[in-house]
């Protein structure tokens, strides 16, 4: 998350006065913003590096919500599982030094941790791809994005290798894998019966051929579906399972 935040602040919210500087210089300035620990892109109240650079306003300490407490679960594995799931929901953003999480001290991310991975993203196509990669990272399916190649212009950086940004997303897999399999109740369904000695197959349930997996060209609109009522769109209720829509919104 921190890496995406830093990359987006660098590529989308760079102050115009710094845009002409070298990448190293811009990163030095970005480090000042990062160390100020004000809200960053995606967080409540974030105004962007550019605004902070102009206003240099101190903001109230930004408290990151952490899981409210560990429930009384005896099994240590279940307890760990509960905490991990809870952190997925409420601990999605890096914490700050003034409210460092005792449970996970590494949740505060220093700029030096992310600096080696930041790239100079300049073109509109690459910026668009970065935005989509971020949304994918947040759990939304972006049909067709894993097939997109926009990074040829960057010859030697981490993000060019195998569309590195996309490895952080779902990459085409579904939010809830259990929907790929038929319900267990169907295993017990009777598939045939006998009438007067004649074996007759029962009518199989009619399922739509358009399933939960959604992958198509990026040129297709997000409001277009497969049917007249736009059903089968890229994002429907089942596709946002487990996604913190408030963060994405």
């Amino acid at each position: 998350m921190a890496l995406f935040q830093a990359q987006i602040e660098l590529s989308h919210f760079c102050p115009p006065s710094l845009a002409g500087l070298s990448l190293a210089s811009r990163l030095d300035h970005l480090e000042e913003f990062w160390d100020a620990e004000v809200p960053r892109v995606g967080e409540d109240g974030a105004k962007g590096w550019c605004t902070w650079h102009t206003e240099r306003k101190a903001v109230e300490e930004h408290f990151m919500h952490q899981p409210s407490g560990v429930p009384s679960i005896d099994d240590p594995y279940q307890q760990w599982c509960f905490l991990e799931k809870a952190l997925d929901q409420v601990g999605v953003f890096p914490s700050r030094s003034f409210n460092e999480d005792e449970i996970d001290p590494y949740s505060t991310i220093l700029f030096s941790d992310v600096r080696p991975f930041l790239s100079d993203v300049r073109t509109d196509a690459a910026k668009e791809y970065l935005r989509l990669a971020f949304i994918s990272f947040l759990g939304m399916n972006i049909p067709g994005i894993s097939e997109t190649r926009v990074l040829e212009e960057f010859s030697d950086n981490y993000l060019n290798f195998e569309n590195g940004w996309m490895h952080s997303g779902r990459g085409g897999w579904v939010a809830n894998p259990s929907i790929l399999f038929p319900p267990s109740s169907e295993d017990r369904l009777v598939t045939w019966e006998s009438h007067s000695g004649v074996t007759i197959a029962l009518e199989t349930p009619k399922r739509s051929g358009f399933g939960p997996v959604k992958e198509w060209t990026t040129a297709r609109s997000y409001l277009e579906g497969s049917g007249i009522a736009c059903e089968g769109r890229a994002w429907e209720a089942a596709d946002v399972t487990g996604v913190d829509a408030s963060v994405v919104r």
Binding site: S146, E162, F181, K214, Y222, I228, C230, D239
Partner: protein, 316 residues
Amino acid sequence: MFHQLAPSAISDRWQEMSVSLDAATDIKLWVIVLCVLESYLSYALRAIKESKQRLEQERGSVKLWRIHASLERYRGKRSETSKVYDMAVSIDPQSSSLPLLTADAVEYYWFSGEEPKGRQLLAQFLGVNPSLGGINLLRAKKELDSRVSMYEVFSSQWEACFRLRFFLELGSGTLQDALRIADLELSSVPAASSVHESLTTWLCLTLFNLAQSKGMIIPPAILAEHTSFAMKQYPNNTIILGLFLESERGQGIWGRVRGLLDETENPTLILSQSISRIAWEVWAEGWSHGPWQSERVRAKLEKATGTRQAALSTAK
């Protein structure tokens, strides 16, 4: 995220994605409420409400009206959808979003079995008499050619004109005529490009939806032929794969679907497959015809995991 990055996002797609997310998260809430109250409730109310608020600020925006119409379609409100389309096509004749809106509206009416209404809108867009016959038809085609030349090749407006041309041919001739023209125009688009895939998907889906609508008989062979050809070009496109399943429904020939899923007949299949295609095949195994074979699925997933790991190691 969407709100914070909106100023720097230059494509129209960003707004569509934001609205689509609203509709998706909103419907979760209303499905639950519907089950509890057992009464009729409209879906995606929040998304509709926010769309109306945006329209109050920009009443002349054809783009926003197009998005609003999509939301009403999703809600299943036919009267509201018709009202929006009928009104919006007359707002701004110079709007760059007008071809897209008109194409959406024409499609909607055609699929709803209201072909005359669709023809009327099409004629209105082209500035000709709705009869679409004789000299009027020639004028309509000439006007459409003129419109196409105004737009950047393969832009979204150009795509909208492609769709309108299909319905123009369909409204004035036979399905075969419309398909012949569409296939000819499609051949001018670079193969394997996103535009080509988008139009190929649209064409197959349109044939399917026309077959589903009242009063339109599409020979199954036509859909099957187009779908099979599209599948070879775009094997990871799940809409085309879904159309293939739909076209096989009731055929009683499970072998064709089995053959698609069986990597023993296509040893290189897994190497060329994307993760989404593998996920789709796992789902398709349980789509129809007989009990679900967990061993087949397990073997497929194990093979896919091993093969992709080996391929990635070799690539590095």
